[in-house]
Symmetry: C2
Subunit: 417 residues, 2 copies
Amino acid sequence: MLEQMGQAAKAASYQLALLSSKEKNRVLEKIADYLETEAQQILTANEQDLLEARRNGLSEAMLDRLALTPARLTAIASDVRQVCKLADPVGQVIDGGLLDSGLRIERRRVPLGVIGVIYEARPNVTVDVASLCLKTGNAAILRGGKETWRTNAATVKVIQQALEECGVPAGAVQAIESPDRALVSEMLRMDKYIDMLIPRGGAGLHQLCREQSTIPVITGGIGVCHIFVDDTAEIAPALNIIVNAKTQRPSTCNTVETLLVHQGIAAHFLPALSKQMAESGVTLHAENNALDALKSGPAKVIAVQPEEYDNEFLSLDLNVKVVADLDEAIAHIRQHGTQHSDAILTRTIGNANRFVNEVDSSAVYVNASTRFTDGGQFGLGAEVAVSTQKLHARGPMGLEALTTYKWIGFGDDTIRA
Amino acid sequence: MLEQMGQAAKAASYQLALLSSKEKNRVLEKIADYLETEAQQILTANEQDLLEARRNGLSEAMLDRLALTPARLTAIASDVRQVCKLADPVGQVIDGGLLDSGLRIERRRVPLGVIGVIYEARPNVTVDVASLCLKTGNAAILRGGKETWRTNAATVKVIQQALEECGVPAGAVQAIESPDRALVSEMLRMDKYIDMLIPRGGAGLHQLCREQSTIPVITGGIGVCHIFVDDTAEIAPALNIIVNAKTQRPSTCNTVETLLVHQGIAAHFLPALSKQMAESGVTLHAENNALDALKSGPAKVIAVQPEEYDNEFLSLDLNVKVVADLDEAIAHIRQHGTQHSDAILTRTIGNANRFVNEVDSSAVYVNASTRFTDGGQFGLGAEVAVSTQKLHARGPMGLEALTTYKWIGFGDDTIRA
């Protein structure tokens, strides 16, 4: 079955690569329309998924993530219409020139081909990913969370109706419509058909893909992010940034998880931190060298467990450690970070420069919140994923990350000397 | 042992990332000098490797590939000095701007970190790869062919002398100094330390890396390249290009392996081809539909075996098949090509455009030889590998392909709204 899907996707990708931006936008608009006019089939499938999820004892919070309503579908359709407005990177000439040999070359931006996406339960991802792939002329093979497989299948059916209405083969967007986990392993070995694999999920999914996939994988989305409070930081703005980085949306990967505090400022800073964190409802997980100072403050504080430096809390919890200097802070980040987003708060320009140069993360910040690491915030218009690897794309991935280039050589019966 | 090498490489990479172009060039010059002044230890090790290779019955051609001489070492040192002259991409600002939030961002080009390279017997690759990695501020872990492990170890020892002389840790360039093949499998799982893996070898090595590596891999270097002779091609220049693409250096990956001939020109073209190929010493492997016409010509011709459409000859052999039209040519290339380099010879602009747009290869040519796919020819100054995958880099990889970027956000106590 997957073999057939791969063949259909590859065949569709050849057609998609030839579409103009206008033609691709027409497809997207049709999808948005159909998501509204054909909403009932998607909502019915979603009800069945919710029924089963409830039987399986999923939490109310989880059920809410899975649930679609007419209003949510309208919002999803509206997102698709937004994608129409984005600039299409396909066809751009990146660079080129005339070689001494007489050959004229250019590097032209082209679609990747077929993109595989494996994601967790949220059903809006299906439309989100499909629209970004189509916008860049790529076919997509989607494998959503097993809890919403009926919703995803119904959504893709509606998308395929819209595709065929516009003369684009249904193979351009396909979903693996089975909750069978063995199909994931099979998908990971489809390097003959899939050009890039994007896992969107937790650390376990990323590790599975890294270990089993024969397709190039983009891993990311895991953020153990740090803020280093230097001895010249100003306390009030520093606390403001920390509150933003920790509490604005704690479940995201760019949320700060560990605060490293220069020993030169700790005596002043830690009491103020405790007061602010008590107000913000944040529980502190303190290293021994910060524990005493924090214990006398109003915030809830417990001793940090060593493994907590390596994991995302994704909750209102924050590690706090006093460090001797910038060197120790950088060493800690190198050991425990996930190369996602890290910040320094300082008034010392030399330390800011050192932090920027020496911390090897996708995004490094000076006197700013780690929460900025986001395609929308960075002006990319959309975000397919946040890469924490170094190949192909790093940090927030916009439409350009869904493309590659080809070298084109125009000769005049030109041979190599 | 590999764990220690990984740690040393990662630590060295942090130092290398901070070096200026001038400092890196100083290291390269010192390496070039030492390759000449310390030549004797490398030549002695090479003699031992050759002795064993001869005992193991390697062919004279292979022995010649393995052999180093003072003259060859001088040429290698001279190549290192050439790398000094290349522009250093590290530190470039790719793009940037001021966001609505007040955050100023830039994307800055930085080294990848640690690059792993697995290569076959040729001992010059050791120095070649090491110098390109150092130029871009990367550490390298090298695993050369087992036939030259003593030569590689001695070469790396000389490189490390030069590194330490310049205050750069020896961990910046390390070789796995054992012919044990199990170490390759171990190396492929060092994703904690190695940021990118480049296999330089045959299809077997690439498949091994694709299947076993948990490190992002650049695969490539396998070229089943095609030339399509359209019905409007001019015969004399077409033959000139085919001779260049087939015979200039048959053992390279950008050499043409299959000729697809439009049926509208076959009757005129095949007799002329036979004559030219006889002169050039090329054996034709003909599809049935070309066999009769070719049999009456002077060139050596045999019936093609189906699997020959999927393999590199790397010799003076060429498949020939008559196709009905451009569509059949494109379909053949999609089925049998390796997305390396493919060319159309035509005087019809519409067909040239279709070929360029519809053939999904790293390099596509109009009226030019496939032999141009090369970092030097494309003006990249150097070539680390030729990628036939679509992520990160496609086609010839120059220094830029050994870098990634980081996002840097400069705030003024800036938080996300």
